[in-house]
């Protein structure tokens, strides 16, 4: 007789379609059911009380938890190698909820300056109203991170693949710095997805996603996710360790151990802030997630082709894709993103000032297949000219300061036939060089 094979740790693709969903005993539904309900009938008055005291696991109200959303949460936790997850209304909500759970007025965060513009606005404007300070530093300048840390610093923050120049964060160096200061490292892994990079494996404490992007992947639902490695000792971290006045002085880390941060984020922050995800959106994001690896392979391969094409184009001044050997973070990309550094990147048209700003507009208007809109991570290829849209109110000087020049065009490369995408770019460049200039 052969020995029974040992239990197996299933691979990424298997967990992508199975994790978090065991067909239920009643119906056996194979697809994840959409629990479109606000609330859940209690078993008994005693059980209701136990649920409200967090002494029993179970559902009370969809603002706090929902069975469809729980599948999305557990599946992403499995894929990121996290101890658990909390899905919320959007990527912006994920950031806000994670940091509201960790921070108290007067606290500080040190963050990479290469962030999504919306994140910078949240950190600089909204957080200011809450007496929270975020110091932005050049992600490549190790000494700058260290210098910016003060006794009030409660977290380090960055994006695996940064905006707008596709810079790659040196996760292990930052994790070591965070560990040395006993603070968590929070990583926004939106552009990479857990298929291309799993920051927890490189020492990150908390991982965030705008699931709206590649996780959902089809541009049809907005959602965000907070994941905890469960590896951080919060016993001396005031906001998680201290007694909670809203739960009879419950100490979340004492009582829930490695689930403490997430339990507090769910039962206090999301409960009070109300930034919950809709069950329908959880379902749509799950539907996307089931093909994540297949889509990401194609996204990356198309992006790599297009980046190479652009780099050789005479009308292009620069291409900022870490998959190219010319990018300053190419080596970091090979280390942390060996399957490829995603499919969102920017390039610059040749030219200067007002002329190149006009060229950018004309280039985008000439494209047939790239959709001109403000999103990334869709199956369809997307394009935007920041200087004439998201950043149009800025002067040339202000644009330069935030690294968004008038020549910059950002692409999110989709799943179309790559030859068709190259044709589209080609004909738009042709239109640019053959249009009459003023």
């Amino acid at each position: 007789m052969m020995d029974r094979p040992a239990p197996r740790k299933f691979g990424f693709e298997t967990r992508m379609v199975h994790a978090g969903h065991v067909p239920d005993a009643e119906t056996g539904s194979r697809a994840v059911p959409i629990h479109q309900t606000t609330s859940y009938v209690f078993d008994s008055a005693d059980q209701a009380a136990q649920l409200f005291e967090l002494k029993q696991y179970g559902n009370i109200y969809t603002r706090i938890s929902n069975p469809t959303t729980a599948v999305l949460e557990e599946r992403l936790a499995s894929l990121e190698g996290a101890t658990g997850a909390l899905a919320v209304a959007s990527g912006m909500a994920a950031q806000f909820v994670a940091l509201m759970t960790l921070l108290s007025p007067g606290d500080e965060v040190v963050a990479s300056s290469h962030l999504y513009g919306g994140t910078v606005t949240q950190f600089k404007q909204t957080f200011l109203k809450l007496s929270l300070k975020v110091t932005l530093v050049d992600p490549h300048d190790e000494a700058a991170w260290e210098r910016a840390i003060t006794p009030k610093t409660r977290a380090l923050y960055g994006e695996t693949i940064g905006n707008p120049r596709g810079s790659i964060l040196d996760l292990e160096k930052l994790a070591a710095l965070a560990r040395a200061h006993n603070i968590p490292l929070i990583i926004d892994n939106t552009f990479a997805t857990p298929y291309l990079c799993r920051p927890i494996e490189h020492g990150a404490t908390i991982v965030l996603h705008s699931a709206t992007k590649f996780i959902g992947g089809h541009g049809n639902a907005i959602g965000g996710v907070i994941l905890d490695s469960g590896n951080f000792d919060f016993s001396r971290f005031p906001s998680i360790a201290a007694p909670s006045p809203s739960y009879h002085n419950l100490r979340f880390f004492d009582t829930f151990g490695h689930y403490g941060f997430l339990m507090k984020a769910r039962a206090e922050t999301v409960r009070d802030v109300g930034a919950c995800i809709s069950p329908m959106n959880s379902f749509l994001l799950l539907q996307g997630l089931e093909t994540l690896s297949l889509r990401m392979d194609r996204h990356v391969s198309n992006a790599q082709h297009i980046a190479r094409y652009l780099e050789q184009n005479q009308q292009v001044a620069w291409v900022a894709y870490a998959g190219l050997p010319s990018h300053r973070d190419h080596a970091l990309a090979q280390k942390y993103l060996p399957k490829g550094p995603g499919a969102v990147f920017s390039f610059g048209l040749k030219g200067e000032g007002g002329q190149v700003r006009e060229d950018g507009k004309r280039f985008i208007e000439a494209l047939e297949l790239f959709s001109h809109l403000a999103n990334v991570g869709d199956v369809r290829s997307l394009v935007i000219h920041p200087a004439s849209t998201t950043h149009q109110q800025l002067t040339e000087e202000e644009l330069a300061a935030c690294g968004v020049g008038p020549e910059m065009i950002r692409l999110s490369v989709g799943l179309e036939n790559v030859e068709d995408l190259l044709w589209d770019l080609d004909q738009a460049f042709h239109a640019l060089s053959h249009s009459t200039r003023a």
Partner: protein
């Protein structure tokens, strides 16, 4: 495996034990068998403070239908149950001893468990809660023929295999295409 689902994925998260130690002290089939077969659970070091982890675990287990037996030298009644001062003085058979005491206190608890077995009272399994690790004591209990689980939480494991933990968004590491059994 009772009402839980099939489990084929090894549970690996959040323990400070090595893979070899996990295989020895955190066997998934053994944990499930214990959760299924145990009826009476002694909780050593159960606090009377409503917000302590041990109180959460005891209340949960009582709700889930287990008979709980508080062991604490400083209390009379916890969660409506009579409290015993140590494991040796529990006058009826127990199936599982859930330990909420520091590692150095585990030696004496194991002594008393082994003595119960030698006297033919019962043969209780020993379970050291998260981060309570005393491997020499665990080995003595194993040598005496007792089941031992180390560095796991009974509530979390029950929640994991009976579905409730999943609703809190946690990674149960259960992967199965089979219909969940009732």
């Amino acid at each position: 495996m009772g009402s839980g689902s099939g489990v084929s994925c090894a549970v690996t998260l959040n323990t400070s034990l090595t893979p070899e130690q996990r295989a020895r002290y955190q066997d998934v089939a053994q944990i499930n068998q214990l959760l299924d077969s145990a009826r009476t659970i002694a909780l050593v070091g159960l606090s009377s403070d409503r917000q302590k982890a041990s109180y959460f675990v005891a209340g949960y287990l009582k709700d889930e239908g287990y008979r709980i037996v508080p062991v604490n030298p400083k209390a009379d009644t916890i969660l409506g149950e009579k409290v015993y001062s140590d494991v040796a003085s529990i006058p009826f058979p127990i199936d599982l001893i859930d330990i909420f005491r520091p590692p150095q206190d585990v030696d004496e608890i194991v002594n008393q468990a082994i003595s119960r077995k030698e006297k033919g009272i019962d043969s209780p399994a020993l379970w050291m809660q998260l981060r309570i690790i005393n491997l020499p004591a665990a080995e003595r209990a194993l040598a005496a023929g007792l089941t031992v689980i180390v560095d796991k939480c009974v509530k979390m494991e029950h929640g994991r295999y009976r579905g409730g933990l999943h609703y809190a968004g946690m990674n149960t590491e259960i992967i199965s295409a089979r219909k969940r059994r009732r």
